[in-house]
């Protein structure tokens, strides 16, 4: 019954590792926002990033698909390996990388276009469809994966911005999966949604983990506990604790983690 509490379970199952971060530092000018982070993120698993505001969750998440490249003062050091390949190597095209490592943001941000075009955009620019029939197929498949097909199939020409907040977020998830990514990064995807829409997105996340590695930043402890199998707790730019979600929420090793998840001042 006694479970061995191994040191930060890095490299638990080498076969299953999607992302490997080694000694990762992120700076915004002089601000050292991510300090010495080492972590293995698993495939077909939902990993939650939790921690107080400003601890670096979004910064680290953005470093996984090089979104930080778009911030001029931002500098990333260390190695981030996706399937063993360095994503920051010169030959890697960030646009291709982002097709492989999709991202969903806090505020649903559909393009001001039709529902159909919102989904078709990515596959078009990445040349994933040879003709209209193939594109139709991708659009339907993606909307189904986004668990929104039944709600929009009769109005694919309507603007995506006309959907409810929860529908927009599922549309954005459908858009992210349309380019056949391997990883989905989600930064507080439910914080603008009501409880029902949140439950629908959580249910979708649970389905997505069969096909993808999903990383979700969330402010809701309950959400992290509900949707994830692994949880990483960040504090002041450090990855303090990374373990099975059940362990983090029943018996965390670090007092900083415990203070945070139990709502203590600490």
């Amino acid at each position: 019954m006694m479970k061995d509490n191994v040191e930060n379970k890095v490299g638990v199952d080498a076969m299953n590792v999607k992302f490997s971060a080694r000694d990762v530092q992120v700076y915004y000018g002089d601000n050292h926002a991510i300090k010495d982070v080492n972590v293995d993120i698993l495939d077909k698993t939902v990993t939650a990033f939790i921690g107080p505001s400003g601890c670096g969750k979004s910064t680290f998440l953005r470093s996984l698909n090089r979104m930080n490249d778009t911030i001029p003062i931002c500098r990333v050091e260390g190695d981030i390996l996706l399937d063993g390949e360095d994503i920051n190597a010169p030959q890697v095209d960030p646009v291709q990388l982002r097709a492989k490592v999709g991202m969903v943001f806090q505020k649903p941000n559909p393009f001001p276009k039709s529902i159909y075009d919102n989904i078709a955009y990515g596959p078009r620019i990445h040349g994933l469809a040879r003709n209209k029939a193939e594109l139709d197929e991708i659009v339907e498949k993606s909307l189904r994966r986004g668990a929104i097909w039944d709600e929009v199939k009769d109005r694919l020409d309507a603007p995506g911005t006309g959907l409810s907040g929860g529908q927009q977020q599922r549309l954005c998830i459908a858009r992210a999966v349309a380019t056949e990514p391997e990883v989905l990064l989600m930064d507080e995807p439910c914080s603008a949604l009501d409880p029902i829409a949140t439950a629908q997105v959580e249910e979708l996340i649970d389905e997505l983990k069969a096909s993808y590695s999903v990383v979700i930043v969330t402010h809701s402890m309950q959400q992290a506990a509900r949707v994830s199998q692994k949880t990483a707790f960040f504090h002041l730019g450090n990855l303090v604790e990374y373990d099975d979600t059940t362990t983090i929420f029943t018996n965390p090793r670090d007092t900083r983690t415990e203070s945070y998840i139990t709502g203590r001042i600490g």
């Binding site: 019954m1 006694m2 203070s259 203590r264």
Partner: protein, 241 residues
């Protein structure tokens, strides 16, 4: 984790349910003591008070369960907070059972008071009950101090209680064989001894909860068992766990 919660009401709620468990523990310790004393002094009035007092113990368990359910629903506790709520509920259940055993002793005391006393029995039972009462008191203290080491100690002392039970069992058997007129009284006394032995098991379970609360893990070894017991009686082996 002694830091206060940001939500002060959370701290108050957690403290309140723990205070209720301690109150319940105090009543149960008293019930054990009073039941054994009433047996020793053949005091039926005292025994009746123990029987009446069990209602209060049952009510406290209900109250604790209700408050724990509310706290789970409203606060969604995690880590130490979660373990506190879980162990409080379990311990309240153990205390309620111990209370029932004390009540049963009191019932039998009333029956026994009309019978010829069995020499030495009530003193031996009182010694046994004193040990269990002390174990309970130590287990509850260690709960408040979140001290896992006492848990280990309690588990060992429970072995001695088992041995006392086995010794008494053998003694009663002898009395009954010597004079069949002793059978009714000895059967009651045997059930009383058995009740106290079961109380010891519940105290051990409380000690396990203290270990879980303070370490996050249950003791994984089986309770140490005395297999070489010289008191073994064919077909009536030592106390079950």
């Amino acid at each position: 984790m002694n830091d206060p919660h940001i939500a002060k009401a959370f701290d108050r709620d957690l403290e309140a349910i723990q205070a209720l468990v301690m109150k319940m523990g105090g009543l149960v310790e008293e019930a054990i003591r009073e039941a054994a004393k009433s047996l020793k002094t053949r005091d039926t009035e005292r025994a009746e008070k123990v029987r009446q007092g069990d209602r209060k113990i049952d009510e406290l368990e209900d109250l604790i369960n209700t408050q724990c359910a509310q706290l789970l629903a409203i606060r969604q506790p995690a880590a130490t907070d979660l373990r506190t709520v879980l162990t409080v509920m379990k311990i309240a259940g153990n205390l309620e059972r111990i209370g029932d055993y004390a009540k049963n002793i009191a019932k039998r005391t009333e029956v026994l008071s009309h019978m010829q006393p069995i020499e030495g029995a009530s003193s031996a039972i009182r010694r046994m009950s004193k040990e269990v009462e002390a174990m309970l008191s130590d287990a509850l203290d260690s709960y408040i101090r979140r001290d896992a080491t006492v848990g280990e100690d309690v588990r060992h002392r429970d072995l001695e209680v088992d041995q006392m039970y086995n010794a008494l069992f053998r003694e009663f058997l002898t009395f009954m064989m010597e004079d069949p007129r002793n059978i009714t009284a000895c059967m009651h006394l045997h059930f009383i001894a058995k009740n106290i032995e079961r109380m010891g098991d519940h105290v051990t379970s409380i000690a396990d909860q203290v270990i879980y609360l303070s370490t996050g893990q249950f003791p994984d070894d089986q309770r140490p068992k005395d297999n070489q017991s010289i008191y073994k009686v064919e077909g009536f082996e030592e106390a079950d766990e």
